[in-house]
Symmetry: C2
Subunit: 330 residues, 2 copies
């Protein structure tokens, strides 16, 4: 009885390397990539490889709570860095580092989770320089790279990483189906070796059939065609949601139309209690998530996130109608 490589099947890693080179300006050799069961496992493996109990990891706040759970599991202390309309506030990170060294930073630069903003170009350069100087690792979670509607997707931090400080995390679960757990890490070889050793300890190997199937679908361009179709469809859904919101709740919320991603981020205007709104909406069968879910201290803030990827235009219009009704009745 023999088992597969803990890095995942070589053919998939080769197809992945080709895809990353053509879409992201990233060219990891196949041995610098590890196939994982979705981005959650990727983040958990990196947390284990990079962090020791007591280490500090900086995260975006607002940010992605399930990643924080993995960092806590590794025994790390989590410090939140603010996010504004140009993404992570790198100046704030720099001030923090001056006081407390950090071991790693977890960041979603493409479509920031949950605010959807893209990290500005100047900040990207500043951030890479900071990581190089202060020797901390950057975990770059590019969970919805493919879903960019206006212009081309922004290339990852990893593509400009000459110092070997960035571990890049991507996933096919959003492109294909959430039930298919297929993500990956592209990172410098020593880190990937640690990741692979830990991977085989928690999960002997991935789904070989699934990995070979995805390799073939990538080689034949099927995934790429599917992504182009999804991009058109999701772009239309975004536009539909934007139009419906402007028409029906435009007096109560403000928002910037995001260039990509799978959600809109709304600021509630004065007088709107977002948590009461969310409860009233839920009673009407419409789900919105309020900002407290994305903070370290769960303190309420006047923002809500509206996912649009899983609803068709008719459902989106009906959803907004219910949100408007909830706003009147909240």
């Amino acid at each position: 009885m023999s088992y597969a490589s803990p890095l995942g099947c070589l053919r998939l890693r080769q197809a992945l390397a080709t895809m990353l080179a053509s879409t992201r300006g990233l060219a990891p050799p196949a041995d610098n990539a590890c196939i994982t069961r979705g981005s959650q496992m990727a983040i958990a493996l990196l947390a284990h490889a990079l962090l020791r109990p007591g280490d500090v990891i900086a995260v975006e706040q607002l940010g992605y709570r399930p990643a924080w759970e993995s960092f806590r599991l590794a025994g790390a202390r989590i410090v939140g860095i603010p996010v504004d309309e140009r993404g992570l506030c790198v100046d704030a990170l720099e001030r923090m580092i001056a006081r407390h060294p950090i071991r790693a930073l977890y960041v979603t630069p493409h479509h920031q989770f949950p605010t959807t903003v893209t990290l500005a170009a100047g900040r990207r350069i500043q951030l890479l320089e900071l990581a190089r100087t202060h020797r901390f690792a950057i975990i770059e979670d590019d969970y919805d790279h493919e879903f960019h509607y206006d212009g081309r997707p922004v290339v990852p931090l990893a593509s400009a990483d000459t110092a070997g400080v960035v571990a890049y995390v991507g996933t096919f679960s959003k492109v294909l189906a959430p039930g298919l757990r297929l993500g990956y890490i592209a990172a410098p070889a020593p880190l990937i070796d640690q990741v692979a050793a830990h991977r085989s300890c928690i999960d002997t190997q991935g789904d070989q059939v699934l990995e070979y199937a995805l390799a073939e679908l990538l080689e034949e361009g099927v995934v790429q065609r599917h992504i182009r179709r999804m991009r058109r469809e999701y772009g239309a859904r975004r536009d539909c949601l934007v139009a419906s919101l402007r028409e029906q709740v435009g007096d109560h919320v403000a928002f910037t139309v995001p260039a990509g991603g799978i959600a809109l981020w709304l600021r509630a205007k004065r007088g709107v209690d977002v948590d009461a709104w969310a409860r009233a909406a839920k009673r009407r069968g419409a789900m919105i998530v309020t900002a407290g879910a994305y903070t370290l201290d769960r303190r309420p803030q006047p923002f809500v996130r509206l996912g649009f990827a899983s609803l068709n235009p008719a459902e989106l219009r009906e959803g907004v109608r219910r949100l408007a009704s909830a706003l009147r009745g909240a």
Copy 2:
């Protein structure tokens, strides 16, 4: 987008509970079971839930190294307890505990790995009593429960556990295919809750299609029929290997015919260097594993393990012929 339960699909847990009740005298409610990706993930999850850095876990020595890796990952200190022809030496464990408290014990009582012996009935009672008195957890790995040829399989320690100290680990990967990662833990509810929380942190969910498929195959009795066929086939393979060994290398090795399991455990007689034998066998295309692989210190011992499950009778006879040739040429 919503995800499945971190415990695994309910229908599979129900089918599993029915199977455990009828084959092992174990009747965990479906909520006391967690489906995992093979026994490796089960052991890693239990290690994380039970052990804190510095905790001591006792293991069988000779024993199963990949489990030890999981315990080390959790920061535990590993202490080896000897195994004799009646399984784990529970007296030795008791003497050890008198000096150093332990947090957990990892044990393979059915067909001890790698020596294939079954833990004697008296020792089972003594062990459960010891765990109850000294409040340590028992991780019972019953990795090849199904493969028992002489009489009925021995029921697990877990079936006599009235104190809630045993976490039972089983797997379908050996029954179906090593590439299908399907194992499980049956354990008291508080422990299962911890396991589930950790599971969703390292791997959002299992393979839903696979889990539903296995549930259906269990409900329809297909797995059970397959096991009966495998048991006949593997029993015949064991007998074939035994006969070939007696005929061709009987002067150089001694062994007890195991009542179950998927391997034979041979003691090399005086004058046989097992590592030289293994190297000579490998050159002839026959793989045997020597005892050093199953020790904490990798110190050589005059034993080898011969797996027979994956070879048909003709292959087994040819394999033994090569072993005999290697013995002459070693």
